[in-house]
């Protein structure tokens, strides 16, 4: 792998450069930080009258002193500076509001390989239960306290209550697979159990992976390979629910099927099956779809090697935020106020938008925030074999008054 060779080569650069770079760098205190904070508070003043339901954990609320400077645009900073003297009185009031509802840094932290795109002949179905007619008014922004947000493994400490929960979940699933006599392995950041055929592991953020070392085949009447139609995949999903529903703890399990995408050489991948719980409201359903779901990893040959069960925390909530409409988000997209991992060519224009969905971007390290994800056909990426590439462009879904953002 060429990039790996490059990574290893960087490992062998001159030692003096490495030691030089390893020296502690003192943080630059830039003069505009306080203005940035103040500008943020001024922006918030506009929204005071509209503050409604606030579900907030007080210790996570950012006061003006610790608003991050990074995302403020230059002209916003200048706007803050010009108004400083005129708004001393308003500042105190606005600080109180900021403590209740923080301005959020929506600058995206992307993780993953390459750019985020789907290769297909036509824009595939995505499986997201959200619908533009759902009329979602507010959505929570949720803190990510997964272990992956911690950079030094020596600092990982899972609270006892959570660890007990992990143990009990592991043993419950182990019992389902007839492994009740096997003792789980209790590691600092995860619990696991194995009988040599099935491995179960639960991480501190309540994500479970069940690894079938002997891949699971399905009864002949089900079509599980990459040539399965959506209907056939749906039937398979119903079978899987029947087989494993005891593990899901869902009141009303729903099937979401994402069409399989294509590889560079036009090999179609399997449709993806996700099971989630239908909530009483559209918001609840959307949250279930992103935070508590089951996903099956089925090979193109139709055998299952993994099952992931997600029970991610939805607390603490950093705030409930008003959501903009698709129409407003589309205007922002047209104005270039989007984020994307694709930088090879310019945004091709609204006429190339092929789909939009309301999503939580499930970063390993960043808090969970709602975005509109536009899938845009990029003509520059069209391949000789007629495969199109649909690239993800993200527009923050919360009211812009609460955003602090730098677009990548």
């Amino acid at each position: 792998m060429r990039k790996e060779i490059l990574f290893r080569a960087i490992g062998q650069i001159d030692g003096d450069l490495i030691e030089e770079a390893g020296q502690k760098k003192s943080v630059k205190k830039r003069g505009w930080i306080r203005y940035a904070a103040l500008a943020a508070s001024l922006v918030l003043l506009v929204g005071i009258a509209r503050l409604t339901d606030q579900k907030l954990t007080p210790d996570r609320a950012k006061g003006p002193s610790d608003v991050q400077p990074g995302g403020m645009q230059d002209d916003e900073i200048r706007a803050g500076e010009t108004q400083v003297e005129e708004t001393q009185i308003a500042e105190t009031e606005s600080q109180n509001q900021i403590e209740k509802r923080p301005v959020l840094d929506f600058t995206m932290l992307f993780d993953g390989m390459g750019f985020q795109g789907i290769m297909a002949y036509e824009m595939p179905e995505l499986g997201n239960p959200w619908n533009e007619t759902d009329e979602i008014e507010t959505l929570p922004v949720i803190e990510n306290h997964s272990i992956y947000a911690v950079s030094d493994s020596r600092n990982i400490r899972i609270e006892k209550e959570r660890y007990d929960e992990m143990l009990s979940w592991t043993s419950e699933v182990a019992t389902f697979f007839g492994m009740e006599d096997i003792k789980p392995e209790e590691k600092r950041e995860y619990v696991s159990i194995s009988n040599g055929e099935i491995e179960i592991r639960v991480d501190g953020d309540m994500q479970m992976r069940i690894h079938f070392l002997n891949e699971v085949s399905f009864p002949k009447e089900y079509h599980a390979t990459n040539s399965a139609t959506r209907e056939e995949t749906y039937e398979l999903a119903e079978y899987l629910i029947g087989e494993y529903k005891e593990l899901f703890q869902m009141k009303n399990p729903q099937i979401a099927i994402a069409d399989g995408d294509y590889s560079f050489d036009a090999v179609r991948n399997c449709n993806e099956i996700r099971i989630y719980d239908k909530g009483d409201t559209a918001v609840e359903t959307l949250l279930n779809y992103h935070f508590e779901y089951v996903k099956f990893w089925i090979s193109n040959e139709g055998e299952m090697s993994y099952m992931d069960i997600n029970r991610r925390d939805r607390t603490p909530v950093l705030g409930e935020y008003e959501i903009i409409s698709v129409e407003e988000a589309t205007k922002l997209l047209a104005d270039g106020r989007f984020d994307t991992t694709y930088h090879e060519s310019e945004f091709p224009g609204l006429e190339y938008v092929r789909d939009v969905e309301l999503v939580y971007y499930m970063s390993f390290i960043d808090d969970y925030k709602p975005y509109y994800r536009f899938w845009v056909e990029v003509p520059a990426k069209k391949r000789e074999n007629d495969l199109n590439t649909y690239v993800a462009y993200y527009v923050p879904a919360v009211e812009t008054a609460y955003l602090e953002i730098t677009f990548n």
């Binding site: 990574f7 290893r8 450069l17 490495i18 760098k25 995302g71 993780d111 993953g112 950079s151 493994s153």
Partner: protein, 186 residues
């Protein structure tokens, strides 16, 4: 304890060498391994293997830059382990991100290309880095040698994450152009 003293312990075959190395560099090495592997047990094992390799290498070696010497071993051991774990499925790790960023640096292939050794590529990269200003050089090495997260680099340098990302993007583009100019094919 100074590096020369620790290296002296290895030369004397004194078993205190390893705890002394761990006391001074254990945390750093653990961080590097963890960012690549995202698993504390694997990270600790790689760090322990680093000490074992170091014990086997010194003597006869006498590294001038001990931290770089240790870190390079940890990185390579961690990458090997990462590859083993990736044989089937992708696991989340800072390395996944780092590799995808470095993809941009890969020089275009040409008919007159020649494959060269990692060490030769490293020498080219060192030369390139010496021609950058100090801050850019540090940011690049923090990201791709120490495997630090962008957030962490941004905090330490007092910049926004976006600025660090932009800066890295530009350095990567320059490095790519430089390697192509030098006829390096990877």
């Amino acid at each position: 304890m100074k590096d020369e003293e620790i290296i002296g312990l290895y030369w004397d075959r004194n078993q205190k060498a390893i705890p002394a190395t761990d006391a001074k560099y254990g945390k750093l090495l653990n961080q590097i391994a963890y960012r690549i592997l995202y698993n504390s047990q694997d990270a600790e094992e790689c760090v322990n293997d680093t000490y074992l390799n170091t014990w086997n290498c010194i003597p006869p070696q006498k590294p001038t830059y001990f931290q770089a010497f240790l870190g390079a071993i940890t990185r390579n051991l961690s990458i090997d382990r990462y590859k083993e774990q990736h044989a089937k499925k992708r696991i989340p790790s800072e390395l996944t991100l780092l590799l995808s960023e470095l993809e941009e640096v890969l020089p275009a292939q040409s008919d007159v290309h020649r494959e060269i050794e990692e060490k030769e590529i490293a020498a080219h990269i060192s030369t390139f880095l010496r021609n950058l200003d100090l801050e850019k050089r540090m940011i690049f090495i923090r990201r791709y040698w120490y495997c630090e997260e962008i957030k962490q680099i941004a905090e330490e340098f007092g910049y926004s994450e976006s600025k660090i990302k932009t800066s890295l993007f530009r350095i990567r583009a320059k490095l790519k152009a430089y390697l192509e100019k030098e006829g390096v094919w990877i």
